[in-house]
Symmetry: C2
Subunit: 333 residues, 2 copies
Amino acid sequence: MPASIKDVAKEAGVSIATVSRVLNDVDVVNEETKKKVLEAIDKLGYRPNIVARSLKTQKTKTVGIIIPDISSPFYPEIVRGAEDVSNIYDYNMMLCNTDLDFEKEMEYLRVLKEKMVDGVLYMSSSLKSNILELINKLQIPMVMVETTSEEGNIPSVTINNKQAAEDAVEYLIKKGSNNIAYIGTDKDEINARALRYKGYRSALKNNNLTFNEDITCFGGLKAKDGYEGMKNILEKTQNIDGVFCTGDEIAMGAINFLREKNIKVPEDINVIGFDNIYSAATFYPKLTTVAQPMYDMGSVGMRMLIKIINKQDLENQNYVLKHEIIERDSCRK
Amino acid sequence: MPASIKDVAKEAGVSIATVSRVLNDVDVVNEETKKKVLEAIDKLGYRPNIVARSLKTQKTKTVGIIIPDISSPFYPEIVRGAEDVSNIYDYNMMLCNTDLDFEKEMEYLRVLKEKMVDGVLYMSSSLKSNILELINKLQIPMVMVETTSEEGNIPSVTINNKQAAEDAVEYLIKKGSNNIAYIGTDKDEINARALRYKGYRSALKNNNLTFNEDITCFGGLKAKDGYEGMKNILEKTQNIDGVFCTGDEIAMGAINFLREKNIKVPEDINVIGFDNIYSAATFYPKLTTVAQPMYDMGSVGMRMLIKIINKQDLENQNYVLKHEIIERDSCRK
């Protein structure tokens, strides 16, 4: 039978209340008594019942992470970064996949609140107003990763998506592209990917290049979407010499279509992706891409969340991490 | 302020004990009373404090999943399958990354026990005896995924790894390969990957092909390990015409090395991978591989675990799911 708090009190020759004060660190206990209690805990191998304790302290040392889909290659590194930091600070992390389904997001928030998680790391394409209301009502400490709430009043960690897209398009121009196609996702949402479309448009403008709707395409995030997007664009116009894709898988699909048509990447067309997912460096040709610091987004986000939970000040409410162009083989040297 | 159990009792005109009986489903409550209580719960939007309840019921409706590394491409689909099933049965899942670090595995098991998880889904390369002792001591319901314990006394879900490897090598032989290299990981552990080495050896034997140590190589799981492995093998012998890799990333790395040496896949050498990770179908050439049903391994494992938690019978203690060869472009047609 495992040692109980009573056993510890007996061994240390103090009251149960004193042991509890040491464990919960809520009150001043004289150093010598504290030492005796800690020795007794060590000797008996006592481990407190965390669940009972959390009812008292209203802390569970558990956090939630709400993401669209762990099996989509953008998320695992973020989740790993978050879990590593939660582990360092003795938190455990509940993983919730929503598929961006609004009802599922709402339900997870409610359940996490019921299970008394201390905070939530939240990834969604954009925060709908009903979700914001629920978040306010539930009063769970929260940090957003990848996107921000429209008002920016929820702490967040992101990159500067508009600037990153501008940099990608500028890079293609520097590598000799003038007729640059865009393959992305819905441009009308208020989210990270919509900001990339804005960056594409402004980079064209800054470089006196004409915007041509025929060479833009909006679909999903998968390789097949890139494949189809590239096909659609080439059916309308033949003279493109560069492609900006708002995700690496989109870029891989686009390159696979070009390969089938015997159009050479990068000799005929420069292609740049976005994110720098795990397989970008293994793909052929190795993918040139705009890297998001995914592991850091998860770890910084979790660090912020734990600070908020422990009522420590954040130096910054909305962290913007650095993006970086990774030069590989899908653009000309 | 949210409705309390008192409010529900008052609304339904019954005692708190009756509401509790309905909530916990522990005792017979007459149908009419039950209906009144459920209506009151619905009307007031009452949601029980799950943490307080779990102290009483000794159930938290929370499970743990212990895996090596979510950012390694083999695991996300398994985790997704597991989480989908846990969600269906109203469980939440805590994610724990161990990097196969023995101390970390032990510590996670202890913490999960303290947090009173109802069960654990466990993925490890092989169960060391101290871990088995701890598992027995902690008495947490457990299901193993991908590997089995040596004695097979822990319920598990796997594929037949030896048979799958035999099938892969037979496939290469059928596609014209006779001098088949092996690139894998440690062959001396008692785990899934070691069984694949056994399958490679027995397939050679069954087909009267001579085993040649020079064309086997043991390293890590990454693309760079496949790249290095292929390089080492070709330094020793030039006439191989097929490669069996025990992981898809290994196969991608091997193919990338062959491409650099202008050796054509599949024209000159057939290459087959293992797992069928997400990027296998996007890679060039599209990778022929032995698919493990990863999503199903996670979902079946979680279903088994929830049955064990709820004291339901398992039809089978050690599920062996079907593997399948996915024919793509890295082997000749």
